[in-house]
C-alpha cells in the first residue's frame, strides 16, 4: 500500500509543534488530543484503532484499538484528510516541553521501536503496533516497561521526547549505557537490556538507581534528556503541596524565607 508522502515544518524551540502539509486527498493520523490547528478544507474523522488500513473487519479494528490501550493511548485516532483544493496544513503540538523527531521509516528499515506515549502523528498508513519486551529484566527495570510502541510502514512518523533529543549511531557491537527512562526510540537492530550498576555504593548514593539501560549496536537510537517522569518528580517535590504541605524548595536565595516575602509570587 502506498503511504501518503507528506511535507512538514517543525516550529518552535522547546515547546514545539509540527505543521504538516497535505496535498488534496492526502491524510495524516494524529494521536487524540494533539491537534493544534487545521486549515479550512481539512476534514477530521475519528476512527477506532490506529487508522491504518491493514486492519480489516471489526475484530481486526478491535485488536488494533486494544493494543493501543496497552500502550496507554486513547482507543481512537484522528485522521485528517485534505478534501479541499490545493495544499492545506494541519498541525500537532507536543504535549510537554521537548522536541519532535521526524523519522522516515524506510530509513530505519521500516520499523521503529519507541517508548510508549511518544507517538505524535504520522502519514496515514503507518501502523502503530506494540513491541512486547520479552526480557524480564529490561521490562521490569528498563524504565520503559514491557510494552513499547512499534511503528511500521514506509512513511514519515513524528515522535515526541522530553527535553533535548539526541541521536546516536551505534557501530556494530558498540555499547551505550544510559539512565533507564532516557530512551525514546531505537531501530529494531539495536539490542536493549539492563545492567546492574555493580557497586552497592554507587547504587545507593549516585542517585542513578540500581540499573543502567544498555544499548548494543548496530543501529540508531534516540535519547531524551528529560523524561517526563523526571520532570514530574521535580515539580512534585518543589511543590508546596508535597510532603503534607508547607515545605518547598527555594530557588537558592540567601534571604530564604524573607526572600519569599519579597519575590511576590506567593499567595
Amino acid at each position: 500500500m502506498a503511504m501518503d508522502i507528506i511535507d512538514y515544518k517543525i516550529v518552535g524551540n522547546d515547546m514545539q509543534y509540527v505543521e504538516v502539509e497535505l496535498d488534496p486527498g492526502e491524510a495524516a493520523v494524529g494521536e487524540a488530543g494533539t491537534m493544534m490547528y487545521m486549515e479550512d478544507g481539512i476534514v477530521m474523522d475519528t476512527v477506532f484503532g490506529d487508522g491504518s488500513e491493514q486492519q480489516r473487519g471489526f475484530l481486526g479494528k478491535l485488536m488494533g484499538a486494544g493494543k493501543r490501550l496497552l500502550t496507554g493511548e486513547s482507543l481512537f485516532t484522528t485522521i485528517f484528510v485534505n478534501q479541499g483544493q490545493g495544499k492545506k496544513h494541519v498541525s500537532f503540538a507536543a504535549p510537554y516541553p521537548g522536541h519532535i523527531i521526524p523519522i522516515h521509516l524506510p530509513d530505519v528499515g521500516g520499523t521503529l521501536i519507541c517508548q510508549k506515549d511518544s507517538f505524535l502523528c504520522a502519514a496515514k498508513g503507518v501502523s502503530l503496533g506494540i513491541a512486547f519486551q520479552r526480557k524480564l529484566g529490561a521490562g521490569f527495570f528498563g524504565g520503559e516497561g514491557f510494552i513499547m510502541q512499534k511503528l511500521d510502514g514506509d512513511g514519515l512518523a513524528f515522535v515526541h521526547a522530553g527535553g533535548t533529543v539526541c541521536q546516536k549511531i551505534l557501530a556494530p557491537g558498540e555499547v551505550l549505557r544510559l539512565d533507564t527512562g532516557c530512551l525514546v526510540a531505537m531501530e529494531s537492530t539495536v539490542d536493549f537490556d539492563i545492567e546492574y550498576v555493580g557497586k552497592i555504593k554507587s547504587a545507593l548514593f549516585s542517585g542513578e538507581g540500581l540499573f543502567f539501560a544498555t544499548l548494543r549496536g548496530p543501529g540508531r537510537v534516540w535519547l531524551q534528556s528529560l523524561p517526563l517522569s523526571r520532570m514530574a518528580d521535580r515539580i512534585v517535590s518543589a511543590s508546596k503541596y508535597a510532603q503534607g504541605g508547607g515545605s518547598r524548595r527555594e530557588e537558592g536565595s540567601l534571604l530564604g524565607g524573607i526572600g519569599d516575602l519579597l519575590d511576590g509570587d506567593n499567595r
Binding site: K135, P172, S188, T189
Partner: protein, 376 residues
C-alpha cells in the same frame, strides 16, 4: 551414516553494518564452505573466512542473528532477521558453522526456557491470590462451617449474650406470668438434654415473629403468641427456632459475612467491643438460606415428635402465616417466598410419621389464659 551438511551455498538477504554505515546496507549474503560472501548492491563481492566470523543473537528481543567479524581494526556485522532462513540454517547448518549454530540453538532454547520460567512465576504470583479468593468465595459455606466447628458452646453462649445485650435496647421485653411460664415450659420441654443453656424472652411487638440468637437466646414477639391458637402452634415455631440454634445457622452466616475477622476474634476469645455490635447489626439483616430454613423446619418437626408434642401445631401455624403472608406484620416467613412448599413438605412429613408414632397427648397449658395475660 552421519548426515553431512549440504555443500550448496546458503544465501539470504541481510543488512550489513560497517564503520561508517549509519544505515545498514541491504546485501545478499552467501554462506559457501569456509567463507561468508557479501554481495553489495553495486556488485562488489567480499569474502570473509568463516573462522574469523562470530555468530550471535541480538537486536530487539534477540530475534536477529548477527555475523560479526573484524576487518582492518573495525567491527563489521551482517544481520539476518528473517526467521524462515534462520530455521533453514538451523535444520541444515552450513559447513564450518555447525558449532556456532549448535551454540546458538542451545542459547535460544535456554533463553526461551528462562523467559517462560519467569513468566510462569509472574503469572503464578498474580494468579495464586485470585485463586485463593475464588476458592474462598466458592467454598465460603464449607469454610464457615469449618470455622464454626472451632467455636465451643461456651464461647458461642458468651458471644450470644453479648449480642443479646447489644440488641436489648431495641426490644421491649416483658414477662407476664402465665405467658412467660408457658413459654419456658414448652421451651424447656423442647430443649431438654441440649448442650445449650436456653433462655426464653417475650418481646412486646405486634409483628408475628420470633428469632434465635446464637448460644440459646430465643425471643418471641407477643404478636406470634396472639396469632397462635394453641400451645402446640407456638411449640412448632419454637422447635424451628431451636433448630436454628442447634444447627448454628446464624453463627455460620455471621462467620461467612464477617469472615476471617470474626474467626480471629473467636479464636482470641474477644467478644467485647465492636464484634458483638457488628454481629447484632448483622443478625438483624441476616436471612437464612432456603436450605437452612428447610433444615430447621424438618429437624424442628422431628424434635416435636421426639418430645411427644403434636406436630400438627407446626403445620397449622405455618398455614396461618402463609395465608397472612402478604401482610408486613408477618416477618417470620416473609423472607422466604416458597412458604407453600415448606408447608407441603411438613404435611408430607406428617403423613410419613403418623403411621409410626402413637397419638400424642395435648400440652397441658391453658392457652386462653396465656393469651389474656398479654398486654392488649
Amino acid at each position: 551414516m552421519r548426515r553431512t551438511a549440504s555443500l550448496a551455498a546458503h544465501s539470504f538477504a541481510g543488512q550489513c553494518f560497517g564503520p561508517d554505515k549509519a544505515k545498514g546496507d541491504d546485501v545478499l549474503v552467501e554462506l559457501v564452505p569456509g567463507s561468508l560472501v557479501i554481495c553489495l548492491a553495486d556488485g562488489v563481492r567480499q569474502a570473509v573466512p568463516l573462522t574469523s566470523v562470530k555468530l550471535s543473537r541480538g537486536g530487539f528481543n534477540q530475534t536477529q542473528w548477527q555475523f560479526q567479524w573484524k576487518q582492518d581494526g573495525s567491527n563489521w556485522m551482517v544481520i539476518l532477521s528473517d526467521t524462515n532462513i534462520q530455521q533453514k540454517l538451523l535444520s541444515s547448518p552450513p559447513v564450518g558453522l555447525e558449532k556456532e549454530i549448535e551454540a546458538l540453538k542451545s542459547g535460544q532454547r535456554k533463553s526461551k526456557l528462562f523467559s517462560r520460567l519467569g513468566w510462569t512465576i509472574i503469572t503464578l504470583i498474580i494468579l495464586i491470590p485470585i485463586a485463593l479468593l475464588g476458592l474462598f468465595w466458592w467454598k465460603a459455606d464449607k469454610i464457615a462451617e469449618w470455622g464454626v466447628e472451632k467455636i465451643s458452646t461456651a464461647q458461642e453462649a458468651s458471644l450470644g449474650n453479648a449480642i443479646f445485650e447489644a440488641q436489648k435496647t431495641g426490644l421491649k421485653l416483658i414477662n407476664p406470668a402465665p405467658a412467660q411460664s408457658a413459654l419456658e415450659e414448652i421451651g424447656h420441654k423442647l430443649t431438654d438434654g441440649s448442650s445449650y443453656q436456653y433462655q426464653f424472652y417475650i418481646n412486646n411487638d405486634p409483628s408475628i415473629n420470633a428469632f434465635a440468637i446464637p448460644g440459646g437466646v430465643i425471643v418471641v414477639n407477643t404478636g406470634l403468641i396472639k396469632a397462635s391458637d394453641s400451645a402446640e402452634e407456638l411449640a412448632g415455631v419454637l422447635a424451628h427456632e431451636v433448630q436454628h440454634v442447634e444447627l448454628r445457622h446464624s453463627l455460620k452466616g455471621m462467620v461467612k459475612d464477617l469472615g476471617l475477622q470474626a474467626l480471629m476474634q473467636f479464636a482470641w476469645g474477644d467478644y467485647s467491643g465492636a464484634l458483638p455490635a457488628q454481629m447484632a447489626k448483622d443478625l438483624s439483616q441476616l436471612s437464612f438460606s432456603r436450605s437452612q430454613e428447610e433444615e430447621a423446619d424438618l429437624r424442628g418437626f422431628d424434635l416435636l415428635v421426639n418430645k411427644q408434642i403434636n406436630p400438627k401445631g407446626m403445620v397449622s401455624i405455618y398455614e396461618k402465616l402463609e395465608k397472612d403472608g402478604g401482610k408486613p406484620a408477618v416477618t417470620l416467613l416473609s423472607t422466604h417466598p416458597d412458604t407453600k412448599t415448606r408447608v407441603l413438605q411438613l404435611k408430607e412429613r406428617m403423613v410419613n410419621t403418623h403411621s409410626t408414632t402413637k397419638p400424642m397427648a395435648p400440652l397441658n397449658i391453658k392457652w386462653a389464659v396465656v393469651k389474656a395475660s398479654l398486654p392488649q
